[in-house]
């Protein structure tokens, strides 16, 4: 699957720093308010302190599975060879949700509450998660 074909990124998007850090050297950034310390994803304006103190910061990329779903059907032909696959909602340790594909575990072994972290070194175009 070429995810750039399925869902191309948009240049000059507010999330561009996240993608640049991930694609250049697999750093996992979140958008953080420098005043209250709240982390967010995707790019967000702090409701209390506005945009001026928002900055992209390095984080470890780990958390727990909040909920998940298993695709048994390919909605587009490019994904036909990948079913069944698991899409998980990770509640990152810093607070925000991160939606990703869970790899390195059979779909029927996935449980809510499991600890997971990003997979590095595999050349993933999108940060995929594996059991910790």
């Amino acid at each position: 699957m070429s995810i750039d074909t399925i869902a191309p990124l948009i240049k000059a998007d507010p999330d561009a720093p996240f993608w640049e850090a991930w694609t250049s050297d697999q750093r996992f950034l979140l958008h953080r308010c420098g005043i209250c310390g709240r982390h967010d994803w995707p790019a967000t304006c702090c409701q209390t302190h506005g945009m001026s103190a928002m900055e992209w910061v390095d984080t470890p990329g780990a958390g727990v599975i909040d909920t998940f779903t298993i695709f048994h059907r390919a909605y587009i032909k490019e994904l036909a060879s990948e079913v069944p696959y698991t899409v998980a909602v990770v509640r990152l340790d810093e607070g925000p949700y991160f939606h990703t594909r869970l790899v390195g575990i059979a779909p029927d072994a996935v449980k809510s509450g499991m600890r997971v972290c990003i997979r590095t070194g595999a050349g993933d175009a999108f940060p995929l998660f594996v059991p910790e």
Binding site: F68, Y85, G95, L128
Partner: protein
């Protein structure tokens, strides 16, 4: 808005079905003519037009010349939101008679586009398409899985919803599943699509048009031979609050403020509601809305339906036309159409006796990585 100040004086609903082969704008034109006939009005009575989608050139093809033509697109909440906008236009003196129009032909065309960050569908923020999260079912499935993990809701509870909706639709000639019964075993045997949803947990696209004509209750009194239905309360809620609170999946969406405002305007409580018509693209939608509107306790939506809670003789007869899953999918107009039929006594074999007040919900603008963003509630009544 003041309870009963706005009246729905015309309803036009075309045939709703799979792959009708009719252009969407023609569905709107046909529905408009049915609505005008229902209200005993001519085209020139319409001085406001709201299109439940992206308005481009409807007015010429529909033969209308109003003061304004507004596009509204907030997903499945568009239909009730268009009524709220129509009420605003009437009460602010911009129009006397507003047409709220819907017409889509998704089952005659391709799947809506995806991939772009702003394209319509489940493909916005959070980059779901980049991990293969495509289609509305998966976004709702995340809520269903959360509900199962935390409350013990089972696939058979989801199946109870599917069977109950089919039982409603079974004798309704306006439902696409008319005369096609299913059992809980059929549900359990149907193919898993996006876990925990099986094929029979999901609605299918259908083609169809629907137009409603709204005016003031005062103007409605001057129209002879019509059967008006009244708006008693309306409310809205947006799921961004749950997103900021990082508590998305335990909620259906942001129902609480929508329901509170609508019931406060109407001066009614749940006990006054004779029938509920929920926006129900997936079986979990009924279970979670029953809980969040307060018809049962949190986590009890599955057993509530399995025990007959939404049957005609249940605590709250709901989605009596079969809903979107077994009736037809006219986006947010499916629940409004059925509420209108109930309050006019036109629901035939699934008529709720002496239905006086109906609760209607709409939710949508699929959030990409969650079920919906926007929610809207209407409370409709048979009398002003």
């Amino acid at each position: 808005m003041k309870s009963g100040s706005i009246a729905i004086v015309g309803m036009g609903v075309t045939h709703q079905g799979r792959a009708l082969g009719t252009l969407d704008v023609d569905l709107r034109r046909q529905a408009l003519e049915l609505a005008l006939a229902d209200a005993g009005l001519q085209r020139d009575a319409i001085d406001g037009y709201i299109h439940a989608s992206h308005e481009r050139e409807d007015l010429r093809y529909l033969g209308l010349s109003p003061n304004f033509s507004w596009p509204v697109q907030t997903g499945g909440a568009t239909a009730p939101s268009s009524f709220i906008m129509a009420a605003g236009a009437i009460l602010s003196g911009q129009a006397e008679m507003v047409a709220c129009a819907y017409g889509m032909a998704p089952s005659s065309g391709g799947m809506p586009g995806f991939g772009g960050k702003t394209s319509f569908g489940s493909l916005s923020y959070g980059y779901p398409a980049r991990v293969g999260m495509i289609g509305a079912a998966s976004a709702h499935a995340l809520h269903a899985r959360w509900h199962m993990d935390h409350y013990g809701t089972t696939s058979r509870h989801l199946g109870a919803v599917a069977v109950q909706l089919r039982n409603h639709a079974l004798h309704r000639t306006d439902a696409i599943t008319y005369g096609q019964p299913i059992t809980i075993e059929d549900h359990q045997a149907s193919a898993m699509v996006v876990d925990p949803f099986r094929m029979l947990d999901c609605c299918r696209d259908t083609d169809g048009g629907a137009v409603f004509l709204l005016t003031s209750a005062e103007r409605a009194r001057s129209l002879p031979g019509i059967h008006p239905i009244y708006i008693h309360g309306a409310g809205t809620g947006h799921n961004i609050g749950n997103w900021h609170r990082r508590d998305v999946y335990s909620h259906h969406d942001d129902i609480a403020p929508a329901a509170a405002r609508a019931f406060a305007q109407a001066g009614l409580t749940l006990d006054d509601i004779d029938t509920a018509q929920f926006y129900d693209p997936f079986t979990i939608s009924i279970i979670m809305q029953l809980e969040h509107y307060g018809f049962c306790k949190p986590g009890q939506g599955g057993p509530f339906v399995a025990d007959g809670g939404i049957a005609l003789d249940g605590r709250i007869p709901a989605n009596t036309g079969g809903g979107q899953i077994s009736g037809f999918y006219a986006a947010g107009f499916t629940p409004i159409i059925e509420a209108m039929k109930q309050l006019r006594g036109q629901s035939g074999p699934t008529q709720v006796k002496d239905a006086e007040f109906a609760l209607v919900s709409g939710h949508g603008l699929n959030g990409g990585v969650q079920n919906t963003w926007s929610h809207a509630t209407l409370i409709l009544g048979a009398q002003p």
